[in-house]
Amino acid sequence: MGADHHGPAKGLTRWLFTTNHKDIGSMYLWFSFAMFLMGGTFALVIRSELFQPGLQIVKPEFFNQMTTMHGLVMVFGAIMPAWVGLANWMVPLMIGAPDMALPRMNNWSFWILPFAFTMLASSLFMEGGAPNFGWTFYAPLSTTYAPPSVTYFIFGVHLMGMSSIMGSINIIATIMNLRAPGMTYMKMPMFVWTWFITAFLLIAVMPVLAGVVTMMLFDIHFGTSFFSAAGGGDPVLFQHVFWFFGHPEVYIMILPAFGVVSEVLPTFSRKPLFGYSSMVYATASIAFLSFIVWAHHMYTVGMPIAGELFFMYATMLIAVPTGVKVFNWVTTMFKGSMTFETPMLFAIAFIILFTIGGLSGLMLSLAPLDFQYHDTYFVVAHFHYVLVQGALFAIYCGVYYWLPKWTGHMYDETLAKTHFWMTFIGVNTAFFPMHFVGLAGMPRRIPDYALQFADYNMLSTIGAFITGFSQLIFVVVVIKCIKSGKQATDQVWDGAHGLEWTVASPAPYHTFSVPPQVR
């Protein structure tokens, strides 16, 4: 280490070669926001086509590519990297570590991603078009009937998987080895705990995803028959392997959200988190249960009755630890001295709207009822409530909460609240009517629909456009906050506790070179 390593290097190479957790965290966050805008644009293409019944704007083939790319980009490009970015920025600051445990690998984890998504997005311009088989890429749609670009998709997924696995190894090693003296596991902030558990989930299931796309690759190019019934394989096997990855994946996207909300609520309620240890155990229980419920995505595929019952009861069981969390959050606010800054608004909206998504999930968990809901817009409504009003709201919650610490300035509260309320109105207008059209029988992933669904679809499209354009307010808030604004104090929020609030605002390039003492 040279003596000139006190501040960031200059120019482009600073970002290319950086091993600094704050630089890498920022790159992850900007990258995920760019992907969010791209995936959002795809969503607006979908909603424009669905504004009215009939085919107006895009061809059905392109519509399928849009639903697929929207899902893939939002899941793997927007939500997951945003969480890794927040972890990079905040985990070392929250546990009093000078950096991540494996800084060079950290650089790799990030820089793989732009290549992965360039490969995936380039398929839009290829002959035969982009992947069009849905983000769940069920065989044989993704094998026998796939466009030639599927191979780019497969290698893109391989790269994303490597990035996630390296990132997770780094986070676990950081948390296990670099905690400040005195910070025992049961003193770690909830955000660190939830990411610790999430990282284990990632290491367990991302390789399974890599395995399933590798099997696809072999079926497509090397004449194997993993998923081809003609050769003795079974397409249903694909769904089992995919959802063995896929169900823990949805908890990967939501557990860090639980962590952020558990940080923000105590700050703005000016009370400690209620039931800290039960929160830790609930998170671990949810992570464990996520491995034994995958087939609830497959009730209609055909399973022995014992299987349907097992997966139904196991799925319903997840409501218990999740309920523990929701009640703990509500109790944290109870009789608190609450104020409603933007992070708090996002946190409270998260609790209410995520609970709606959780309850529709409970409805979907019931095998006999799922035969009606399966592959309808009810499912679309459910997972957008947990991933948009859930995960995305929690990401915004965390970004607003820690933004003054990153930039050293307070953001424009009025503009930020406008962003919150416009987004709140937009997403609910977009996704709430989907429950109704779904229950009435509108299937998902179709470019045209029966006339009776027209009004609710028009409403959804209006909501989607409100949501989409409201995100531009967020861009303005962030840029304004970087360039100017009231100087933030070190503690930023008067109810904030934790090591990240003991360092200067903006956080210096190197922090905790001398580990702090935690009592």
Binding site: S168, P207, V208, G223, S225, G231, M303
Partner: protein
């Protein structure tokens, strides 16, 4: 340089990741075993039953309706249909029927029929002593064939099952002939 302990953690977690990659592939045989245990195995319905003639006695007091379906996989051009769409059979009795195929193409083709039984609970009680689905079928251009199926329904069939549907899907395996034989053949 990361400390020895950090390297140790990273290597162990890396090993877990590699192990889980292998586990993904291990799910393939695990799936077959689970299907067998739960009685929904493709092997159960695609394996030749070893029954000696006369070893079973017919239960004349009970009849079960057997329905036959013949489907072509997308892109398969053969004419494929059962000669009898429905049979009323006694559990324990040996039954024979045939399926008709014709290859309308101008070239020889190889086909593989893959069976499916509904309701799935009935699958373990349907014993096939002879079936065209046990092997690939080759037909010359314009060739036709009556393909035999011989089966016994087990007397232990649950009383509430009165109708069993046996459906075959015919796949074109001309290009993949040989490789495709392996997994189907392995279960015989």
């Amino acid at each position: 340089m990361p400390t020895a302990s950090t390297r140790n953690i990273a290597l162990r977690l890396g090993a877990v990741a590699v192990g889980m990659f292998g586990f993904g592939f291990a799910l393939v045989p695990i799936y077959d075993v689970m299907c067998k245990v739960l009685g929904v195995s493709r092997e159960t319905i695609n394996t030749q039953a070893q029954l000696k003639p006369g070893s079973t006695s017919a239960d004349a007091s009970r009849t079960v309706t057997m329905q036959f379906l013949a489907n072509n996989d997308g892109g398969m051009s053969w004419d494929f249909r059962p000669h009898q769409f429905e049979m009323r059979v006694n559990p324990g009795a040996m039954n024979n029927t045939t399926f008709y195929v014709r290859n309308p193409a101008h070239k020889a083709m190889v086909a593989q029929a893959v069976p499916s039984v509904s309701p799935a609970e009935a699958a373990p009680y349907l014993h096939k002593t002879e079936c065209f689905c046990f092997r690939q079928q080759t037909l010359a251009a314009g060739g036709e064939l009556d393909m035999p199926l011989q089966f016994v329904i087990d007397q232990a069939l649950p009383k509430d099952i009165r109708t069993i549907t046996l459906s075959y899907t015919l796949f074109d395996v001309t290009g993949a002939a040989g490789t495709a034989d392996q997994r189907v053949g392995a279960s015989n």
